[in-house]
C-alpha cells in the first residue's frame, strides 16, 4: 500500500512536468492554431540555461540558488519562445504547413547547435542536496524532487487559471480561441496576445526542462531531452483536447499515473521497461476512439 502511495506521487509529479509542457502547446494551438514542434527545444534550452547558471552560481546548492536557476530557465524559455513567434511564426500566419516545417527546422537546428557546443554527453546541473533527498512518510520514502515537481505543476495550473479568468489578456486569449476575427473586430491587437501566449508557454516549458532534468533524469541535461518529452506532451494535449487547459491538466495526470503504474507493476514483473510508454499510446487510442475531440477539447 505504501509503495502505491510513493508510485502515485511519482506519477503525479511526472504528470506535473507533462502539464507544464502541454499547457503551452495547448494554449498556443487553442489561440493560434499553430502546432509548435519547436516547443521541445524551449525546454531543452531552459534546462541548459539552468545548467549554465548553476555551474557559475556560488549559491547554486542552496534553495535560493535553485529558485534563481528555475527563474532563469523559465526566462530563457520565455525569451526564445517570444523570439520564435515574432521572427518565425508571425510572417507565416494562415500557412499551417509552413509553420510546422519552420518549427521542426528550428528544433533540428538548435538541437544541432547544442550538440556542437556541449557534445552528446549529458551535463549535470548543480542543485541543493535536499532536492535529491527523500522524505519518509510512514514506511515509504518519497523523493523530495517529486514534491517540488508536483507543487510547481499545481502552482502553474492555479496561476494560469487565475490569469485566464481574471485578467483582460486572459479573457482575450479565451475569446481568441473561440473567434479570432471577432476579437480583432473589437479593436484588440490579437498579435500581442499571440506573443504573450508563446511567451507563457515558453516559460512553462523552460521550467519543465529544468524540473525534468533534476527530478527524473538525475540532474542530467542533454540536447535530445526536449524532443523525447515533446512526444508525451503532444499525447497529453491530444488526450485532453486541443486548446483546453483543463483537459491538458487532467490528461497530464492520467498519462503520468498510467505510465508509472504500468512501468512499476507490469513493466517490472514482465521485464519490459518500455511497457509504460506503450500503455500511454494505448490510453491515447482508447480516448480518441471514445471521444475523437479529446476529453475536453473542441471538435475538429
Amino acid at each position: 500500500m505504501s509503495t502505491f502511495v510513493a508510485i502515485t506521487i511519482s506519477g503525479l509529479a511526472l504528470g506535473s512536468v507533462y502539464f507544464l509542457i502541454a499547457s503551452g502547446l495547448s494554449l498556443i494551438y487553442g489561440l493560434m492554431d499553430v502546432l509548435n514542434f519547436a516547443h521541445g527545444i524551449f525546454l531543452t534550452l531552459g534546462a541548459y540555461a539552468g545548467f549554465e547558471l548553476a555551474s557559475r552560481l556560488p549559491i547554486a546548492a542552496h534553495a535560493a540558488g535553485f529558485l534563481l536557476t528555475a527563474a532563469v530557465a523559465a526566462a530563457c524559455g520565455a525569451v526564445i519562445a517570444a523570439m520564435t513567434e515574432l521572427v518565425l511564426i508571425r510572417p507565416l500566419y494562415g500557412r499551417p504547413v509552413s509553420q510546422i516545417l519552420v518549427t521542426i527546422g528550428l528544433d533540428l537546428a538548435l538541437v544541432g547547435l547544442l550538440l556542437g557546443i556541449y557534445g552528446s554527453n549529458a551535463r549535470v546541473i548543480t542543485v541543493p542536496a535536499w532536492l535529491t533527498g527523500v522524505t519518509s512518510l510512514g514506511s515509504e520514502r518519497i523523493p523530495n524532487g517529486d514534491f517540488v515537481a508536483l507543487g510547481t505543476g499545481v502552482a502553474v495550473l492555479a496561476a494560469l487559471a487565475w490569469f485566464l479568468r481574471q485578467t483582460r489578456y486572459g479573457i482575450i486569449i479565451r475569446a481568441g480561441a473561440e473567434n479570432r476575427d471577432m476579437v480583432r473586430a473589437l479593436g484588440i491587437n490579437v498579435g500581442r496576445a499571440f506573443t504573450l501566449v508563446f511567451t507563457i508557454g515558453g516559460a512553462a516549458a523552460g521550467l519543465a526542462g529544468l524540473l525534468n532534468s533534476v527530478v527524473f533524469n538525475g540532474g542530467l541535461v542533454d540536447p535530445s531531452q526536449g524532443d523525447q518529452l515533446l512526444i508525451f506532451a503532444f499525447i497529453v494535449v491530444v488526450i485532453g483536447g486541443l486548446g483546453s487547459l483543463a483537459g491538458s491538466a487532467i490528461a497530464a495526470v492520467l498519462v503520468g499515473l498510467v505510465q508509472v503504474y504500468v512501468s512499476f507493476y507490469a513493466g517490472a514483473s514482465a521485464g519490459l521497461a518500455q511497457l509504460g510508454n506503450v500503455s500511454v499510446v494505448l490510453v491515447l487510442a482508447i480516448v480518441l476512439l471514445a471521444r475523437p475531440g479529446g476529453l475536453l477539447g473542441r471538435t475538429a
Binding site: 483582460r168 479573457i171 482575450i172 479565451r174 475569446a175 473561440e178 473567434n179 476575427d181 471577432m182 476579437v183 480583432r184 473586430a185 473589437l186 479593436g187 484588440i188 491587437n189 490579437v190
Partner: protein, 235 residues
C-alpha cells in the same frame, strides 16, 4: 464642408473574392454622416462581405475611406479603433465567456458606459454572470449590440440585427437601434424592408457584387423592392 466631412464611409472600386468567386465587383459606396444608411440586396450579393471589407476582415482591393482616413491595408484593430462598432450577422458573442466578460472584452480603456448599456438592455444586467452561449438568440443580439455601445463610437456597422429573432426581440432591437442612430452613423444590412423604412434615411442596393441603386429611402418604390430585392407584397 468637404466630402470627407460629410461622408462617414467612402469606398470606390471595392473588389473581393471568396473561394474563387468574385463576390464584390467594384462596389462604390458612400455613407453620409449621421442617421442610418441601409445596405440592401438579395442573399449572397455581397452585403456582409462589404461590411467585412470595410473593417479589413475580408481582403479587398479598391479605396476605402472611413471617418476621414484611408484605411486600405490597415490591420483590423487599427480601423476599429477609429471609433467603429461592428455587430456581425451571427452575433458572434463569445459563447464560453460570461455576459460580463463579453462586455469587458469590448472595453477600450476609456470610461465604459455599463449603466447605459444595462439601461438599454436590462436583461444583460440580470444575466451578467451567465455564459453567453446559454442566452437566447435575442439576448445574444442585445449583447452583441451592447458591447459596441460600451463606448461612444461615431460609426456602427450592423449586419442583419433582426435575423432569426422572436417578434418581441425584433421590436426591442429596432427601438434600440433607433435610439442609437440619434447620436451616430449606422450602416445597416437588413433584409426586412419594414425595418429599413422605419430606421433608414438612405438606402444602397447591391446586386451581383456592385451598387445598383442608392438614394433616400422614400424614393425606394414598391417596384424597386420587387425588382432589386425579390420581395413581393406591401413594402
Amino acid at each position: 464642408m468637404t466630402g470627407a466631412d460629410t461622408l462617414a464611409i467612402e469606398a470606390a472600386g471595392l473588389r473581393a473574392d471568396i473561394g474563387g468567386s468574385h463576390i464584390l465587383q467594384g462596389v462604390d459606396l458612400q455613407v453620409p454622416v449621421g442617421g442610418v444608411t441601409a445596405l440592401l440586396g438579395r442573399n449572397g450579393v455581397g452585403k456582409t462581405t462589404t461590411l467585412r471589407a470595410l473593417l479589413g476582415l475580408q481582403p479587398a482591393s479598391g479605396t476605402i475611406r472611413v471617418l476621414g482616413h484611408d484605411v486600405a491595408g490597415w490591420p483590423v484593430h487599427r480601423i476599429v479603433r477609429l471609433g467603429i462598432g461592428y455587430v456581425p450577422e451571427d452575433r458572434d458573442v463569445f459563447t464560453r465567456l460570461t455576459v460580463r466578460e463579453n462586455l469587458r472584452l469590448a472595453e477600450t480603456g476609456r470610461q465604459a458606459r455599463y449603466e447605459q448599456v444595462y439601461d438599454l438592455f436590462p436583461e444583460l444586467r440580470q444575466r451578467s454572470g451567465q455564459l453567453a452561449g446559454t442566452l437566447s438568440g435575442g439576448q445574444q443580439q442585445m449583447l452583441a449590440i451592447g458591447r459596441v455601445l460600451l463606448h461612444e463610437r461615431p460609426l456602427l456597422l450592423v449586419d442583419e440585427p433582426t435575423k432569426g429573432l422572436a417578434p418581441l426581440y425584433v421590436s426591442e432591437v429596432i427601438d434600440a437601434l433607433e435610439r442609437i442612430a440619434a447620436s451616430c452613423t449606422v450602416l445597416l444590412v437588413e433584409q426586412n424592408v419594414h425595418v429599413v423604412r422605419k430606421l433608414a434615411r438612405q438606402v444602397v442596393v447591391l446586386d451581383h457584387g456592385s451598387v445598383v441603386h442608392s438614394g433616400p429611402v422614400g424614393e425606394l418604390t414598391e417596384d424597386d423592392v420587387r425588382r432589386l430585392l425579390g420581395v413581393s407584397g406591401p413594402a
